[in-house]
């Protein structure tokens, strides 16, 4: 029986010629990832179980990105636990303030994810690296501890939903709109326990940053992973970043899918998700005019260079509306630097936006832009759950960088084409 991309990667990791959906297997890991919130729990479990050594110090990445630069004493203590562990076990890929970026932008940028690899991360958005043709998925801290000790993880082989993309995106429509549209179509548990496998001629027109955004939010449809085929754009991205050998896997012609969802990219409009679920989507036109008090442009979903370019192009020469706080967070130091060299940071500051060092910060209501009672934010982040960015009465609208930037100028939800 034919296998999907994901099944082929998992079969190789398990040392098997064939796996099928539903099968439980143990596979070898190419990377185990954690952050400053999940790694301390993993370290505690690791030490409580009496484990003493890590399987491979080169294949573990610890990124202090959530509450950093540390927002309070407790966060500082959690980071110290990570720092001590990384030092003790000589973890090669330990990223502290100054080097760190938001993990899911940083890991691909540093060449730590490659096609065909199997990656687990104690962060739900680890599914981002499927954009590179890797199998990558979010797990918990105990999985991280087990992965660090053994280099293995258990998986239930997933079925897949095939997402066939055709056509090309219109101006002001981006990867964020594609994935919000998809989640709106299938629901927040539409791909539960399944892979989202993207294919079709529409793929080639999508930039790598768009593919990262799309795979990043696969979890918001409940998916185990999202994955794109490897093409020329993938290879161009990997050049200069990944020197080790990697393998691109293609789905078999007779691979079996749970179902196929077709999306004609040319028909998509800028799309937003209203509180309190990412599946609560509407074309921006239907929400236009809704007042907002805060704009967040950043996160592991939309803090990449293409996102900042899109936002800066709209904000350039304009002003953030009175009564609106606009916060821009480049996802990594490299992106920050590049944005500075391109003049994007100047565009943001001259428009009246605040620019932050890389951090997950406001996305999870941690710091750097927490909301007050009854406030509305439009954010390029990934979740609009109750209380995610502030008190339970605060509201989040999820949107693309273009829609967020346009809304910052007007103070109300705005279609960027009208600016």
């Amino acid at each position: 029986m034919g296998m999907t991309m994901t099944q082929k990667i998992l079969a190789r990791a398990a040392g098997l010629s064939q796996v099928q959906a539903g099968q439980l297997m143990e596979g070898k890991l190419d990377l185990v990832l954690g952050n400053d919130i999940t790694t301390p729990v993993a370290i505690k479990e690791f030490e409580k179980a009496g484990l003493s050594t890590v399987f491979d110090k080169e294949k573990i990445a610890i990124v202090l990105d959530h509450s950093t630069p540390c927002k309070d004493i407790k966060s500082a203590q959690l980071c110290a636990i990570c720092r001590d562990f990384a030092h003790k076990h000589q973890i090669t890929h330990f990223y502290d303030v100054g080097q760190m970026g938001i993990e899911h932008a940083l890991i691909p940028e540093k060449g730590l994810a490659a096609p065909g690899e199997v990656i687990i991360g104690a962060d739900s958005h680890t599914c981002t690296y499927g954009a590179l043709g890797a199998f990558s998925t979010g797990v918990g801290s105990t999985d991280m501890a087990a992965g660090m000790a053994t280099g293995l993880a258990w998986f239930k082989v997933p079925q897949a939903i095939r997402v066939k993309l055709t056509g090309q995106l219109s101006p002001y429509v981006s990867g964020k709109d594609v994935v919000l549209h998809l989640i709106g179509l299938i629901g927040v548990d539409g791909a539960l326990y399944q892979s989202l496998e993207f294919c079709g001629d529409g793929v080639s027109a999508l930039e790598m940053d768009d593919r990262f955004t799309i795979c990043n939010m696969a979890i918001e449809a409940g998916a185990k992973n999202g994955i794109f085929p490897v093409d020329e754009k993938t290879i161009a991205y990997l050049n200069g970043r990944v020197e080790r050998a990697w393998t691109a896997f293609e789905a078999d012609g007779d691979a079996v899918y749970a179902r196929t969802v077709e999306i004609d990219l040319s028909t998509l409009r800028p799309t937003v998700a209203l509180p309190h679920l990412p599946s609560n989507t509407k074309p921006v036109d239907e929400v236009a005019g809704k007042p907002i008090q805060q704009v967040v442009i950043g996160s592991c979903t939309n803090g990449r260079l293409i996102d900042l370019r899109e936002a800066a192009a709209i904000l350039r020469g304009k002003k953030v509306a009175d009564g609106v706080r606009c916060i821009v967070i480049p996802a990594t130091q490299q992106i920050y630097l590049q944005a500075m060299e391109e003049g994007l940071i100047a565009d943001f500051i001259q428009a009246g936006a605040a620019v932050s060092t890389p951090t997950c910060g406001p996305c999870l209501g941690g710091h750097m832009g927490v909301l007050s009672d009854n406030e509305w934010a439009i954010a390029t982040t990934n979740r609009n759950f109750v209380g995610r960015m502030g008190p339970t009465s605060s509201m989040i609208i999820l949107a693309s960088p273009a829609v967020a930037a346009a809304s910052a100028i007007t103070g109300v939800v705005t279609d960027p084409a009208t600016i």
Binding site: T38, V41, A49, G121, D143, A149, L364, R388
Partner: protein, 161 residues
């Protein structure tokens, strides 16, 4: 025992809000459990109580703090129509029982007396007399739970040292 029943898509941000993720121990996590969906939960829940949820229970973040906080409240198990996959594996990995059974969710109301048998997967609503059969765990998963969690099972198998 008491039933705490919630709807679909109970996410990890309401199970344990991010502002408490830097809590130093499981007991302090437990004191904020379910705070953003049910402010009275943490102060009223007693050991042996059962949480019942709809579909996609535990969706969102990978934070293991979510099942840890429910477990630390003394909750006996969570019964749901379906679980978000990371919550599902986190619960298994920390040895916290969860049961997937849509019929039981529909057949249990707050105030009912319910017993569960993890070995057989049988859920009995003693108030109504109805019994339900949850999907049993595969042997591999049972091995993890019986060993008290993933790390202990890997040690028992001699894989983790």
């Amino acid at each position: 025992m008491k039933i705490y029943k919630y709807g679909d898509n109970v996410d990890t941000d309401v199970i344990i809000p991010a502002r408490y993720l830097n809590a130093p121990d499981e007991k302090s996590l437990a004191s904020h459990c379910m705070e953003d969906i049910d402010a009275d939960f943490a102060s009223s829940v007693q050991p042996g109580d059962i949480v019942v949820g709809g579909s996609n229970f535990g969706c969102g973040s990978s934070r293991e703090h979510a099942p840890l906080s429910i477990k630390a409240c003394g909750v006996k198990c969570v019964i749901a129509k379906s679980f978000a996959r990371i919550f599902y594996r986190n619960a298994i990995n920390i040895g916290f029982p969860i049961m997937e059974c849509p019929e039981a969710v529909d057949g249990i109301s707050p105030g009912d007396q319910v017993t569960v048998d993890f070995a057989t997967g049988v859920i009995e609503n003693q108030t109504t007399g109805a019994t339900f059969q949850a999907a049993p765990f595969p042997a591999f998963v049972n091995g993890i739970i019986e060993n008290g969690g993933l790390l202990h099972s890997l040690k028992a198998r001699g894989i983790a040292k």
